[in-house]
Symmetry: C2
Subunit: 436 residues, 2 copies
């Protein structure tokens, strides 16, 4: 592209050369005879060195009085400096200010501590901070790794609709949209039912898009708008889901470790915890999980679903993600294939991340028998008519099939070691947060 | 992955071996002593050859009576056959039916012609047909190429919110969502305003997600839900947008030509038209475009926007996409940077695809001056308060910046040579279509 400036990320290629950088003032240290503007340009950061003795007085004074986040082009000579974070510094020769942030109306986010509401109100600016920038880069990496994993393993991306006429699981947590002429549609909570149709056409598919849940919960793990990747495979069983899910998580972790070390360091992430994420992951049954929980003092009864606290307790037992399989059918959705030996169990599997990050993957094998699926739809009092197209998949060439869903934000929170999921997406949407 | 069957796409690796394929019966030719089941498995199609003389009678009869779209595993020996589409055939040794579609309730989509409403009502099955499958594969390729292009050129993916409090362009075409406790939010029409904030943090960014337009139009170019990719660059101008847009289209076309020849053949696409898509693209001004249109008999007046017919007329002049730049400010949104020499012009550019596919890219340079942007917000009677965060981007380190948006479905329609955009997405949403 025709840009006269050099990106900080490419600085090593210009060692010893005079280049122009274009960015924003991140920080400034100064004394009477020297000042050190730190420039960020979205590709990286670099410390510039401006010596009063080497510069026209006006240039030095301009640099010295630069305010935080002013936009500036700085020209200077690239010098290797092993003590610098990026390995280079820039010896300033000249500078050009594009827009100077006035002293009387300074950049609102200062190095001092700010409350979370203030930061979220200024999310459009907060993204520029070193920590939020690092999270954004890890998110990019997680998404790219996820897509590459499926693309490289023979999956076809088939986008599922956002506007859906029927609910996948329940209706109380659906967002309703006014369509045309009094029609109502709902925002998708999962592409799975459509994925099943797509898998019968393309064999192995995935969808990857935003999903929506109108949950009135204010936990650190919930957003009303979040991104989910959902693969689905024809001619596949619960075992294939476990293998695929484990492979995906290992691949993502390796990519993040390989390409985002610097960002993980900014986030003070204990990378040894990520390096430990190698297959095979421990696999336990729901029965065993209940035993472990009771041994650890939980009052959970067989037949209940796990809550966030149970997941955290369970995860304490393992340094790696743990796959919990074969849940009581009553805690799983209507479409789960029952276990052949113990039909009261559903062939579902959840992956629980270590370090208290909870369930990051949920999936399993779907019912492929027409009569059984119809029976389940009736048992769950679902409107048969709305599911006729879904039943068609069992009328015309039904095969065993299976898949899962992974929430991107939870995965990013885990990779980054974040307390709260709200920092994993640029503009989080929560119960009381729809701006900016 | 632990699958005992071989994918048809991998058949060349098994030449001479006995393998099991798992798929669906696409078609069947038969005579008394031989039958040719064509199997599809989502990765490809292959013709199987079953000789009565070589098989147990039951196996031959089973194959001969297979119904369309029945699910079946066929075991046989792979044999190179240069006359076959994929280069191989399978000499059948045995078969196992998973689910036989009953003769009395046959697969609804037969080789005969069906009306579009019937096909759209059966979209979950229609996707299995050769033509829809090919379109799905091209769509996958276009999206992968698009993402690779940005990822490989230093862009960071930053997802923009779907729930937005304010409108980017007008409010009449917005879908309204009931949020919690009487709050209203709107579904995004563009991530651009957010992209501008993100570009100030990450330098070069793109968002890629579904966007929504509540337009009551029933044209062959409109969907209410469609996917859009939108790059945005800090320290960039109109020229950078033209370069980036041209590079993207060339890259996508090359990838489609390199990897999807077979699918283009199924679609009977004239690939010479795609092979002609090489840079540099012709670049004309709005003024020149008006001249061309008037010469061709259009009644267009200087100052009006182009309609679909104008775009088609204009495209007739060029075998390649044409970039039209510098539109009258009044036909463009409030945020366009004015031309320095002729301030009545906006620094916007549209790319019009050849062969009547219309505008596939629209973008330009944004206003970076605080006072000018404020003036435009007032001139357009937009609520200043809702744009305070957007104005912040001009208060704190404003720089020239630019970007564009490309609708994925229009691009796929063009690559595939489709009449109507509705076939470019798995589950199109239109004025009268929200199912399945």
């Amino acid at each position: 592209m025709s840009t006269a400036h050099v990106r900080i990320a490419d600085i090593a290629r210009h060692d010893g050369q005079t280049v122009t950088l274009a960015g924003w003032l991140y920080n400034l240290r100064k004394s009477g005879k020297i000042c050190f503007p730190i420039l960020r340009d979205g590709s990286g950061m670099i410390q510039c060195v401006a010596l009063k003795a080497n510069l026209p007085e006006e240039t030095f004074e301009t640099l010295k009085s630069l305010t935080q986040e002013s936009s500036v082009k700085i020209t200077g000579k690239v010098r290797a400096e092993h003590r610098a974070a990026g390995g280079y510094e820039l010896d300033v020769e000249s500078c050009e200010i594009l827009q100077r942030v006035p002293e009387e109306t300074p950049y609102p986010i200062t190095p001092k501590e700010h409350g979370i509401d203030f930061l979220m109100d200024h999310r459009h600016l907060w993204l520029r901070s070193r920590r939020q920038f690092a999270i954004g880069k890890v998110r990019h990496e997680v998404i790219k790794a996820t897509r590459d994993y499926f693309d490289d393993n023979g999956f076809t991306l088939v986008d599922c609709p956002i506007f859906t006429p029927a609910a996948c699981e329940g209706t109380t947590t659906l967002f309703e949209v006014d369509y045309f002429e009094d029609e109502k549609v709902y925002l998708t909570q999962s592409g799975q039912l459509y994925n099943e149709a797509n898998a019968m056409a393309f064999g192995k598919v995935y969808c990857f898009g935003p999903t929506f849940r109108a949950e009135k919960s204010k936990t650190r793990r919930h957003l009303t708008e979040f991104w989910m990747v959902e693969p689905e495979m024809a001619y596949a069983t619960l075992d294939d889901v476990k293998t695929l899910a484990e492979g995906l998580i290992c691949f993502i972790t390796q990519r993040v470790l390989a390409n985002r070390r610097a960002e993980l360091a900014v986030l003070e992430r204990d990378v040894s915890k990520l390096a430990a994420i190698t297959g095979p992951f421990p696999r336990i049954s729901y029965d065993e999980a209940v035993e472990i929980l009771r041994r650890k003092g939980s009052a959970i009864e067989w037949g209940s679903d796990f809550g966030g606290t149970d997941e955290t307790l369970l995860a304490e037992e393992f340094a790696r993600p743990v796959l919990v399989e074969k849940y009581p059918a009553q805690v799983k959705a209507f479409y789960f294939q029952p276990d052949a030996e113990r039909p009261e169990l559903a062939l579902g599997v959840d992956m629980i991340a270590p370090e208290g990050y909870g369930e990051i993957i949920g999936g399993g094998q779907r019912i492929h028998d027409y009569n059984l699926l119809l029976q389940r739809i009736e048992e769950h009092h679902l409107p048969k008519e709305a599911f006729e197209w879904y039943l068609d998949l069992r009328r015309y060439g039904s095969v065993p099939h299976a898949g899962f869903g992974m929430g991107i934000e939870r995965c990013v929170a885990w990779m980054c070691g974040l307390e709260h999921i709200r920092e994993t997406i640029a503009y989080p949407r929560m119960l009381y947060r729809t701006r900016p």
